[in-house]
């Protein structure tokens, strides 16, 4: 089941121009890069990306940048505050006539799950509280990927990370709900596997002033342990098993933009990934697999 769309209906409608030049040092098959690229297509080139430390920090590695837009790397914990400074300065310059309005930019925080869910949360919470007019794009690869895949607050239960060798015990911090509790105009989850849904959400949010979260699953062949060619299939399984719900919250009201007509078993998503290998070998961990399935089932029972 899909919700009705206003802006994008098929792939042909996606902008063809590439906002990012090739040649970036990111891993082959990086799911975060696909998400950034597709979102950037809809946003257009008039953006400044304000970055927090993570994989994407390597995009602009001296002397090269793939960006045709502007970029400001800040720190791991304060990208949203950097967005505040840029937004305020542009507003001041335009209001005082020192900058023509056509030079204006959309301010976009670009941060991974590590920064987003923990260190950067204070600065972000404050920016939402202030109703800062900005985008927040989080590429969620479910660990501190850039440092070698250590546990983050987004690591899913059961997942091996470089610092949880028997699997992550706790559930993911629910950043969608944390944002929603602040009552921003727009919060959405996305996946590059559903580019129309993704583009539609970006276009819908673009009409709204204030803090806007785009939370994209970022499949990570390097950290998750699968062949890079399988990226889109893993992303699809995340959606079809119900593990990664596609949803949005406009002014706090949640609506799922896609509900699989028949959910595939969670196991199908877990099995191809090395980070979940210990759930299947040497012995199958039936209890944990059942628990993971139950968590997903419970989520969708209550989903609107």
């Amino acid at each position: 089941m899909r919700v009705a769309r206003e802006h994008f209906h098929n792939l042909k409608e996606l902008p063809q121009a590439e906002p990012l030049a090739p040649g970036s040092p990111l891993c082959a098959g990086c799911g975060g890069l696909t998400a950034l690229r597709l979102i950037h297509k809809v946003l257009g080139e008039n953006v400044v990306l304000v970055n927090a430390a993570g994989c994407m920090t390597l995009l602009a590695t001296f002397p090269y940048t793939p960006l045709h837009a502007s970029w400001l790397y800040t720190t791991m914990g304060s990208a949203a505050a950097g967005a505040q400074g840029v937004r305020d300065a542009l507003d001041i310059l335009i209001a005082s006539g020192r900058l023509p309005a056509e030079e204006n930019l959309q301010v976009v925080v670009l941060a991974g799950d590590g920064s987003t869910l923990d260190m950067g949360l204070s600065a972000t919470s404050a920016a939402i509280h202030r109703q800062l007019d900005f985008w927040y794009l989080c590429y969620d690869n479910e660990a501190y990927g850039n440092t070698g895949f250590q546990l983050s607050a987004a690591s899913p239960p059961g997942s091996w990370t470089a610092t949880t060798h028997h699997g992550t015990a706790q559930r993911k911090k629910d950043i969608f709900e944390i944002w929603r509790a602040h009552r921003p105009p727009y919060v959405a989850t996305l996946s590059a596997h559903d580019p129309i849904d993704l583009a539609e959400k970006v276009a819908r949010a673009a009409t709204l002033r204030g803090p806007k979260l785009l939370l994209s699953l970022a499949v990570c062949p390097t950290g998750w342990g699968f062949d890079p060619s399988l990226g889109d299939e893993i992303a699809k399984l995340a959606i079809e098993t119900g593990i990664w719900p596609l949803k949005e919250a406009r002014d706090g009201v949640v609506r799922h933009t896609y509900r699989p007509s028949r959910f595939r078993p969670v196991e199908e998503y877990l099995r191809p990934q090395r980070r979940f290998r210990h759930l299947f070998t040497p012995q199958r961990n039936d209890n944990l697999l059942a628990a993971l399935q139950r968590q997903v089932d419970e989520y969708w029972r209550e989903a609107t």
């Binding site: 080139e45 008039n46 400044v48 304000v50 970055n51 920090t57 390597l58 602009a60 590695t61 001296f62 002397p63 940048t65 960006l67 045709h68 837009a69 502007s70 970029w71 400001l72 790397y73 800040t74 720190t75 914990g77 304060s78 990208a79 949203a80 505050a81 950097g82 967005a83 505040q84 400074g85 840029v86 305020d88 300065a89 542009l90 507003d91 001041i92 310059l93 005082s96 020192r98 900058l99 056509e102 030079e103 204006n104 930019l105 204070s122 600065a123 919470s125 404050a126 202030r130």
Partner: protein, 427 residues
């Protein structure tokens, strides 16, 4: 034209706010911390009543506040902000970041001792923790200097020879809450001295994208950029004199990187920074009245470090003492090391160089302690092992501390102090 300003009784904090106001700042990201709060309260009031145009915004921490400040400066507006102590070290990472971005802005630090133990009184461990960041540092002795330094600071920060952020330091309580007469430059004077902000960076614009703050993973290139920052900050020694001359011509007050007080023929010289220099001057006067040749060298500029000025000032002295209102555990006084570095290898450097630690956490530096320092210098002879940093504390103070320790249930006294003397420090 000289004069034209108005005289007002102002606290150091109000003076800081006035400095920012006269600089016609566009943007103040803020976060409150004692003893800095009056600065941001005044500025927010002036933004609210339309005196200042632009924006005042409260952030969630100093780390965020400094990030917003730097990002706004990189975008092309004139930025002011202020903090103190814990706030400065909470944002320390960002200080390096902003200096690396080479963005001009002015940060006022109201010095306060660092936790633990948490305290409120001033000392300089906070501001000296920022000494390696790439921020220039100006240290005020008076409320007048606070106003004037902020105007000077913008000229330095925005100079093409520098383009780096500047920290203006004033001592908590001793200046922040202390009112004294300040001559405020008139708006016209301020405007003549400091013109409109002309950004040196392209900012973030739709028509010409720029990637700022990028990763530099190659050691040689990293060295190049760090060295460029070093050279930029170094340039501020010369630039300070040039800009200060213009300031004198406009506002009538003269400033050198190193203030020399009755130092011309002084055999004994104290070196220090900050508001306690006022008390030092009183002590120097007392000793001069008794016919003793003593003087003071007070650093206004700490970054860049005016090593050549120090060499000239310290050459040929019989003994020099550095009063550090900070303590680097296991080393001693931070400024002592830097002064020693400046005079190392001089053919006619000071024969004796001694280190004193005083005024930590806002503790008074009393007449007795100044007398002790000067007497120690007078008695000192060249040679011997490296002199230990000497903690200044009077017997009266020590007895009070000992009483508190007993009240806190700590029974075993180890320190005896020097019975009968006015001064309780130990070498």
């Amino acid at each position: 034209m000289v004069g034209g300003g108005i005289r007002k009784l102002l606290t150091g904090n109000a003076a800081a706010a006035w400095g920012a106001r006269l600089a016609r700042i566009d943007y103040v990201p803020a976060f409150p911390i004692t003893p800095q709060t009056e600065i941001i309260e005044l500025l927010s009031e002036w933004f609210d009543d339309g005196t200042l145009r632009g924006k005042f915004v409260t952030l969630d921490s100093e780390h965020a506040m400094l990030t917003a400040a730097g990002a706004a400066a990189a975008t092309g507006v004139r930025v002011f902000t202020a903090t103190s102590s814990q706030g400065l070290v909470y944002g320390l990472e960002v200080l390096y970041t902003l200096a690396g971005w080479r963005v001009p802005l002015v940060l006022v630090n109201v010095s306060r001792g660092l936790s633990a133990p948490i305290t409120l009184g001033p000392d300089h461990n906070d501001v000296l923790a920022a000494r390696d960041t790439g921020f220039l540092q100006l240290h005020a002795e008076t409320c007048q200097e606070v106003v004037d330094f902020i105007l000077l600071a913008y000229r330095l920060a925005e100079s093409p020879a520098i383009s780096a952020p500047v920290l203006v330091n004033l001592d908590g309580f001793q200046l922040s809450f202390t009112r004294e007469a300040v001559e405020l430059p008139s708006a016209e004077q301020a405007e003549r001295f400091l013109g409109p902000f002309q950004p040196l960076h392209p900012g973030f614009r739709h028509s010409h994208p720029v990637a700022q703050g990028v990763a530099v993973l190659d050691g040689a290139t990293y060295s190049y950029f760090r060295y460029q920052l070093h050279r930029a900050v170094e340039n501020a020694v010369e630039e300070f004199s040039r800009v200060a001359a213009e300031f004198a011509a406009t506002c009538g007050r003269e400033y050198a990187p190193l203030e020399l007080y009755r130092a011309d023929d002084a055999e004994l010289l104290l070196v220090m920074i900050g508001s306690y220099a006022t008390k030092a001057k009183a002590a120097i006067d007392r000793w001069r009245a008794a016919g003793r040749r003593v003087g003071l060298a007070r650093l206004r500029l700490v970054r860049p470090w005016p090593a050549a000025d120090l060499q000239r000032a310290l050459a040929g002295r019989r003994a020099v003492g550095v009063l550090d209102q900070n303590l680097s555990p296991g080393l001693g006084g931070v400024l002592y090391q830097e002064v020693a570095g400046a005079v190392a290898g001089m053919a006619n450097g000071p024969a004796v160089l001694r280190s004193f630690i005083g005024g930590l956490g806002g503790k008074d530096v009393s007449d007795a302690e100044f007398d002790h320092m000067l007497a120690t210098l007078d008695a000192a002879r060249p040679g011997g092992p490296p002199p230990a940093a000497e903690l200044l504390m009077t017997q009266v103070e020590w007895r009070q501390v000992a009483r508190s320790l007993t009240v806190a249930g700590k029974q075993e006294a180890v320190s005896a102090g020097k019975e009968g003397g006015e001064h309780a420090g130990s070498a």
